[in-house]
Chain length 429, copies 2
């Protein structure tokens, strides 16, 4: 992470803290504001953010740039030159389910260090959590059908493209089209063909045939370039032509009324005796459209891009990072509509006899509860100490938490109150 | 740019083209689908994309990963190992205003080379154009008031954060809070203070005083941490207390009814004889809210973050990249609701006697028109040849184009037909 991926004011405040001697112990908390379409959230990017913070330094070049602004004292520039994060970080690890208003990350350190990392921590975590939380709703709607992440072209840039591939895989998706994500994380990669491919041959038949000859192990034909109904017939023809030589066979429909077209396609494939040809659907799909197709249409797999790259129903997650405690006590924030309860917090989760989530108790750091700790200490005295940091571990955490959710949290349309209980010491008087 | 920032299907199609001998000359076009809230678009990221493509190579490690997938022929892997883009690229350069359905980028090269770069070009350009086009609407709404980009924490990651700072500066904004963008591009950096700063001192008075002592040259006080009306009084008190020692003096309001609060603040400042104290407003601002404040409230500067990081009214720009021509002729695409007119295109712009934009003529590459060419050749035979690639040049292009727009294009609420005229050879028969 670049140390200057931050807002100027973080550093001017830092300098003012230094000059006025206000650099005592402080606790900062990241949390997410309630949103009607997110009955639950999925933590994502918290481990990466903590790792990066533990390794953060300012280069000479960065210090020189800061000096050139003429805004900083030499004492503060010297402070940054020696910067090394030496505090404690508690996070909800990637893949775990949590709720709005709960802390997703707690940073306990000196005031300057906690303050100046605000922007970079929010930048790292908020986007990834937003995509993951949206993708988890889609995972629910797909009811076990394969989900493929196709969002690279819609993501803000290369880093974001890789992160959404990773985030969707953690929340149970089958794989991604993104090769860089496949290379970096070993996520299974999938793909079909584009309209340009079909247009690159004289006929649709020739295009499908050439593709199938090149890719007999995974021949999925995009049938909607010219006329979808006719395209389905051409796919059937090519599959019959090459029958024994093809392994995975499928058609993809990317436009039109996907419910009706997929029903029609399944009927035609059955009539042609092609029970093993899969149907892949794509084209601006989200959890609501997928639910409808699962209920009324036919699909073996869904390709989803835009809606996880940037969820249109919640383009920006309302993540905040606030001072919640220092040596003088709790720091409540009471701005209109933006209340933050003070106190550096921990969260303890409780389950019922069937393993279903019962409630989360949000308590002060000095209180002890016997529930399962949701916030885990991942940085201790500046050192990253977490050991369950693999992609597969995150996916397991998600699948376990997801199956522990009571039914009402899966509701795609109706909001549910988060099952939070604040300990008496954290209630506003 | 990472060569594997692409979808698997781009490369499997590439391999199939190679095996079937379908690698002839081809033209691909990037354009944007119409959208009701974007009467015009601002090109952004096109030069970066072209530069990166001219330098694109596949590393051995990347080739090894591709081989490990067991999906590619050795011939194709060898092709990628020797990959060097040697075609031609025409773009609408950063800062220029264009319209939906016009080409923003044309890639003329062999079919494989044009195909496999689709994902990375869309990834680079679409997000930046979306932010820039939104930011240009906000620039219009602000009617000359200062605009500050505060979106780093809301952006998808560090690259995106820097790119929105750059994009907003190109479209006339005054500066950014993002230090990395300041360092990389020399964009002016601005900042105030956060609520945590105010909470870090026993009283608001003490917080403002300490900040002003540290930053007498730019003392802007955030007045809404506890009670905005009271905060304004405290700011007045501190400003009066330090009067002569402060250079730039201001207050920032980040919540509540900004119209009413800003009017109240201006009145109180005037009553206190503080005519030179600026009012900075922030908090989920967009073009509509800013227009209202300009009309009915009081503001010298606006800080805007979320809405340019990811515009909620258009979270994902509908950018597409399509095969439009090859050796066999034009490639139209007629999928329902997704029509693309074939032919590799150029655009010529015409102005009226007052310098106002009259129309864009979209013509075939072999046609000649005497209008101002909008698409510029930036890569010739694989070599990047564009010379007007500075940030300031882009800003000048924007300001010139923006002032050439007829009044109706500035309308924030009502859609206007793009002033496009397709040459007869490009009309669908």
């Amino acid at each position: 992470m670049k140390a200057l991926l931050t807002d100027l004011y973080e550093l001017t405040m830092g300098d003012a803290y230094l000059r006025s001697g206000a650099d005592g112990w402080s606790a900062f908390e990241m949390s997410v504001r309630p949103n009607r379409y997110r009955n639950f959230l999925v933590a994502m990017g918290t481990l990466e953010a903590a790792r990066e913070l533990a390794n953060l330094t300012f280069t000479d070049e960065e210090i020189d740039y800061l000096r050139s602004l003429g805004k900083f004292s030499e004492d503060f520039l010297e402070y940054l030159r020696n910067f090394r994060f030496d505090g404690d970080i508690y996070v909800v690890p990637d893949g775990r389910i949590l709720f709005a208003r709960e802390p997703v990350m707690v940073v306990e350190t000196s005031r300057i260090k906690g303050q100046i990392v605000e922007t970079m921590l929010l930048n790292r975590v908020a986007y990834q959590m937003n995509s993951a939380s949206k993708a988890a709703r889609i995972y629910h709607a797909a009811r076990g059908r394969m989900l493929l992440e196709f969002g690279a072209r819609r993501a803000a840039d290369s880093e974001a493209a890789v992160r959404i591939a990773r985030a969707t895989y953690v929340v149970g998706w089958a794989g991604t089209s993104n090769l860089e994500a496949g290379r970096l994380y070993g996520i299974p990669v999938y793909g079909t063909m584009a309209h340009a491919f079909v247009q690159s041959y004289r006929t649709e038949f020739e295009a499908f045939l050439e593709f199938a000859k090149a890719y007999p192990e995974s021949a999925i034909f995009l049938v909607d370039t010219y006329d979808t109904l006719a395209g389905i017939e051409v796919a059937i023809e090519v599959i019959n032509h090459l029958k024994d030589r093809l392994k995975l066979k499928g058609i993809r429909i990317d436009s039109g009324d996907l419910v009706e077209l997929s029903r029609y396609a399944r009927r035609r494939l059955k009539e042609a005796g092609l029970e093993d040809v899969i149907i892949v659907l794509s084209g601006d799909l989200n959890e609501w459209k997928i639910r409808e197709i699962v209920e009324r249409g036919e699909a073996d797999a869904f390709g989803v891009g835009s809606e996880v790259a940037i969820p249109p129903d919640k383009p920006v997650l309302g993540a905040i990072y606030k001072l919640v405690e220092d040596e003088t006590g709790f720091k409540h924030k009471l701005s209109k509509g933006k209340v933050v309860i003070g106190g550096s917090k921990r969260v303890y989760r409780y389950y019922d006899g069937q393993g279903k989530l019962l409630k989360d108790v949000v308590a002060h750091r000095n209180e002890r509860y016997d529930g399962e700790p949701l916030l885990v200490q991942v940085v201790r005295g500046g050192e990253y100490v977490y050991t369950e940091d693999s992609l597969e571990a995150a996916r397991e955490r998600f699948l376990r938490d997801f199956s522990s959710l009571p039914e009402e949290y899966y509701d795609l349309d109706n909001g549910v109150e988060p099952p939070l209980e604040f300990s008496p010491s954290l209630r506003l008087k």
